[in-house]
C-alpha cells in the first residue's frame, strides 16, 4: 500500500467517528434536564411566555426534525447561537479557543522542559535515587486534583505572597490585548514588539500553566524514561559505545533522537488530555477559554454551545491524532518495508 493511500484511508476512517460525535453530542444535549425556555423566560414567566420562547428557540419540533435542522446549519458553518452568552457559538469558540490553546501549549512547554531532562536522568540510572525521586514526584503531580492545586497556588502566590497578579483572566486591567494575529497574547505581543504586554500576559499565564503542567509531567517523564531505556539497550547504542563515542554523544545524539518519536506520540495524547483537564483550571482562574465556557453551557442547558464545544473538541482531537498517525506513517521506515 502506498503512503498516500494509507493516509487517505486513515482520513476516511475518521469520518464515521465525526458523524458519531455529532449524533451523540446532539442526543446528549437533548437529554439534559431543565428547560432552557423556562430558564430564560425570567422571573415572571407564564406558561404562554414560556411556550413563546420555546417556539422561538425551535424546541417545540420533533427530535429528528431538530437534528436535520442542526445538520443543515452545520453544513453551512452555523453552529447556532448560545443562549447564555447571546453570541453565535462559532464566534464564541473562535474568541475563546486561543485562550485555551495558549494555556495548554505553555503548560506543555513547561512540562516538556522539566519532564524530558528528568526522564533522561532517570533512564541513565534506572532504579537509582534520581529515578525513584522522579517517579515519586511526577506521580504525585498527576495525583493532584487540578482544581485543588490551582486554588493552593493562588492562595500562596497571589493572596499570601503577592508574587502573581490578580487572577482576572488573560491580561491585567491595565493592558489592552495586542493586535490579533494568532490570538495568542504571548505571540501577538512579541510580533508587535510590545514586551511589556508580553510580560503582563506571561504573568497571568504562569499559575494556571504551572497547575496544568504539574498534571501533565508524569506521562512525558515516564515515556521519555521508557523510550530512553529501550534506546540505550538497543544494538546501535551498544555499537556506538563500542566504537568509543563519548557518553554524552551517545546519550543525546543517538539515544535521545531515537527515543523522541514515541515521546511525540505521547505528547499528542497528553495534549488532548490537558485540553480536557483545563476545564477545571479555567474555572478556578477565571480563564476565558472554551473549557469554562462548556461548564457554564452545560449547567444552563445551553444546547448549541455544548454541541459546538464538543464538536470543536472532537474535531481537534481527531485532527490531532490523524496528524500524528500520518506523521508516524511518513516517518516510520518500517511501514514502507512492510508494504
Amino acid at each position: 500500500m502506498s503512503r498516500i493511500s494509507l493516509v487517505a484511508g486513515r482520513i476516511a476512517l475518521s469520518l464515521p467517528t465525526i458523524f458519531g460525535v455529532i449524533v451523540i453530542s446532539f442526543l446528549l444535549t437533548r437529554a439534559l434536564p431543565g428547560d432552557p425556555a423556562a430558564y430564560f423566560a425570567g422571573p415572571t414567566a407564564t406558561p404562554e411566555s414560556i411556550a413563546e420562547i420555546r417556539h422561538s428557540l425551535g424546541l417545540d419540533r420533533s427530535l429528528p426534525v431538530q437534528f436535520l435542522a442542526y445538520l443543515q446549519d452545520l453544513a453551512t458553518g452555523d453552529l447556532g447561537r448560545s443562549i447564555s452568552t447571546g453570541q453565535s457559538v462559532l464566534s464564541d469558540l473562535l474568541t475563546r479557543l486561543p485562550a485555551s490553546l495558549e494555556l495548554t501549549f505553555l503548560a506543555l512547554l513547561i512540562s516538556l522542559l522539566v519532564a524530558i531532562p528528568a526522564g533522561i536522568l532517570a533512564a541513565t540510572r534506572p532504579d537509582g535515587i534520581v529515578d525513584q525521586a522522579t517517579r515519586f514526584l511526577v506521580t504525585a503531580g498527576v495525583s493532584l486534583p487540578t482544581f485543588f492545586t490551582g486554588l493552593l497556588l493562588l492562595f500562596i502566590f497571589y493572596f499570601k505572597l503577592g508574587w502573581a497578579p490578580s487572577p482576572l483572566g488573560r491580561l491585567d486591567i491595565l493592558y489592552l490585548p495586542p493586535p490579533q494575529l494568532t490570538g495568542f497574547y504571548l505571540v501577538d505581543s512579541l510580533l508587535a514588539g510590545d514586551f511589556e504586554t508580553f510580560r503582563a500576559a506571561l504573568a497571568q499565564l504562569a499559575l494556571p500553566a504551572i497547575t496544568l503542567a504539574l498534571f501533565t509531567m508524569a506521562p512525558i517523564a515516564r515515556m521519555t524514561r521508557a523510550a530512553m531505556i529501550a534506546a540505550l539497550g538497543s544494538e546501535y547504542i551498544r555499537t556506538a559505545r563500542a566504537a568509543g563515542l563519548s557518553r554524552r554523544k551517545v546519550l543525546f545524539v543517538y539515544a535521545l533522537r531515537n527515543a523522541l518519536l514515541p515521546v511525540v506520540t505521547t505528547l499528542g495524547m497528553v495534549f488532548s488530555f490537558a485540553l480536557g483537564a483545563n476545564v477545571l483550571v479555567e474555572k478556578v482562574f477565571a480563564w476565558p477559554g472554551i473549557g469554562s465556557y462548556a461548564v457554564d453551557a452545560l449547567i444552563s442547558s445551553d444546547y448549541a454551545a455544548v454541541q459546538g464545544f464538543v464538536l470543536t473538541m472532537a474535531l481537534l482531537f481527531v485532527t490531532l491524532n490523524l496528524l500524528i498517525d500520518i506523521l508516524y506513517t511518513l516517518l516510520d521506515p518500517r511501514i514502507a518495508h512492510e508494504s
Binding site: 475518521s14 506521580t139 504525585a140 495525583s143 482544581f147 485543588f148 540505550l232 505521547t266
Partner: protein, 308 residues
C-alpha cells in the same frame, strides 16, 4: 509502546505470548514471586501496598471507626481549627472533618472500584469480541470506541451526569463509560495477535467453542496488562468523581465525599479556614497517589524489560 491516555502513561507492550493454560499458571506463580522480589526491592511499591491496604481497610471498617457522626452538625463547634478533639478541625456546620474524611473513603473507593470494574468487564467483552472475530464486529465496536475517544473525556462524563442526574450510580456509569475504551483496546490487540496462534488452533480442533476459547485460552493472557491499567485507572476515576463534584455535578450533599469537601472547603481557604479543603484534598491526593504507585509497581512486574 502504547500510551494510556487516562494518565498518559506508557502501557507495556504485550508480554510474549504464553503457550497454554498450564504454562500461564506457572507464569503466574513466577510473577507472584517476582512481585514479592520487586516489591522488596522497591520501597515505594512497598509503601504503596501498605497504604492501599490501609485505604481498603478504612473503607471496609467505615462507620465502625469514626470518632464522630460525620453528618451531625454542632453549631457551637463550627469552623474550629485542628485540635486534639478534632484532628482535622470542624467545618462550617461544626461537623468533624476527620470523621467525614474517613467516612468518605468507602464512597470514593466504591465509586472508583465500581466504575473500573464495570469498564473492565464491558471493555474486556467488547475488546475480546472485536479482537477474536474481527470483521464487522471489530468495525462496529471500533467505531464506537473511536467516538467515545473523540470526546474530551472529562466533558463527556460531565455531559452524562448532567443529562442523567447527579446520583452516585450515574457518576459510576459515566466514569465507566469514559474508561471503557482503554480496556477494550488492550484486550482487542492482545487477542487479535493470538487468535491464530498454535494453541488456539489446537483448542479449536479439539472442539472448543469460540466463547470458550476466548474465556479460557485467550483472556488469561490479557490479564497482566489489564491489571496495570486497572490500578492506574482507580486513581483517575477518583480524580474524575472529585472534578465532577467541584463543578456541582457530583455526589449529593451532605454525603461526605472528598471531591465535594474540597469544592466546598475551597471557599474557605482565602478566609483562613484552610483545613476544610486541605485534609480531604490531601487524602484524595494520597489515595490517587497510592494507586498510581501501585500501578507503577505492577507495570514493572508485568513488563520487566522496562526496568532493564
Amino acid at each position: 509502546m502504547r500510551v494510556d491516555p487516562t494518565t498518559g502513561e506508557a502501557v507495556p507492550l504485550p508480554a510474549a505470548p504464553q503457550g497454554t493454560q498450564g504454562r500461564w499458571k506457572d507464569a503466574a506463580g513466577e510473577r507472584l514471586r517476582l512481585f514479592v522480589y520487586v516489591a522488596r526491592g522497591s520501597t515505594t511499591t512497598m509503601l504503596a501496598m501498605a497504604m492501599a491496604t490501609l485505604f481498603v481497610l478504612v473503607a471496609i471498617l467505615g462507620p465502625a471507626i469514626l470518632p464522630f457522626d460525620p453528618l451531625a452538625s454542632n453549631p457551637q463547634a463550627a469552623l474550629q481549627p485542628p485540635s486534639a478533639d478534632h484532628w482535622f478541625g470542624t467545618d462550617n456546620l461544626g461537623r468533624d472533618v476527620f470523621s467525614r474524611v474517613l467516612a468518605a473513603t468507602r464512597l470514593d473507593l466504591g465509586i472508583a472500584f465500581g466504575a473500573v470494574a464495570l469498564s473492565f468487564v464491558f471493555g474486556s467483552l467488547i475488546g475480546a469480541l472485536s479482537g477474536y472475530f474481527g470483521g464487522w464486529v471489530d468495525a462496529v465496536f471500533g467505531r464506537l470506541i473511536d467516538v467515545i475517544m473523540a470526546f474530551p473525556l472529562f466533558v463527556l462524563a460531565m455531559g452524562i451526569v448532567a443529562a442523567a442526574g447527579n446520583t452516585v450510580e450515574n457518576i459510576v456509569y459515566a466514569t465507566a463509560i469514559i474508561n471503557l475504551p482503554f480496556y477494550a483496546r488492550i484486550v482487542r490487540s492482545e487477542i487479535a495477535i493470538r487468535r491464530e496462534a498454535g494453541f488456539v488452533q489446537a483448542a479449536r480442533l479439539s472442539g472448543n467453542g469460540d466463547l470458550r476459547i476466548i474465556a479460557v485460552h485467550l483472556f488469561p493472557n490479557v490479564l497482566p496488562p489489564l491489571m496495570v491499567q486497572l490500578s492506574l485507572n482507580l486513581g483517575w476515576a477518583m480524580l474524575n468523581a472529585a472534578g465532577l463534584s467541584f463543578i456541582g455535578l457530583g455526589v449529593r450533599p451532605p454525603t461526605p465525599e472528598w471531591g465535594i469537601m474540597v469544592a466546598e472547603g475551597s471557599n474557605f481557604i482565602i478566609s483562613g479556614e484552610w483545613w476544610l479543603a486541605l485534609f480531604p484534598g490531601a487524602t484524595l491526593m494520597l489515595a490517587v497517589f497510592t494507586f498510581n504507585l501501585l500501578g507503577d509497581g505492577l507495570r514493572d512486574l508485568v513488563d520487566p524489560r522496562q526496568r532493564t
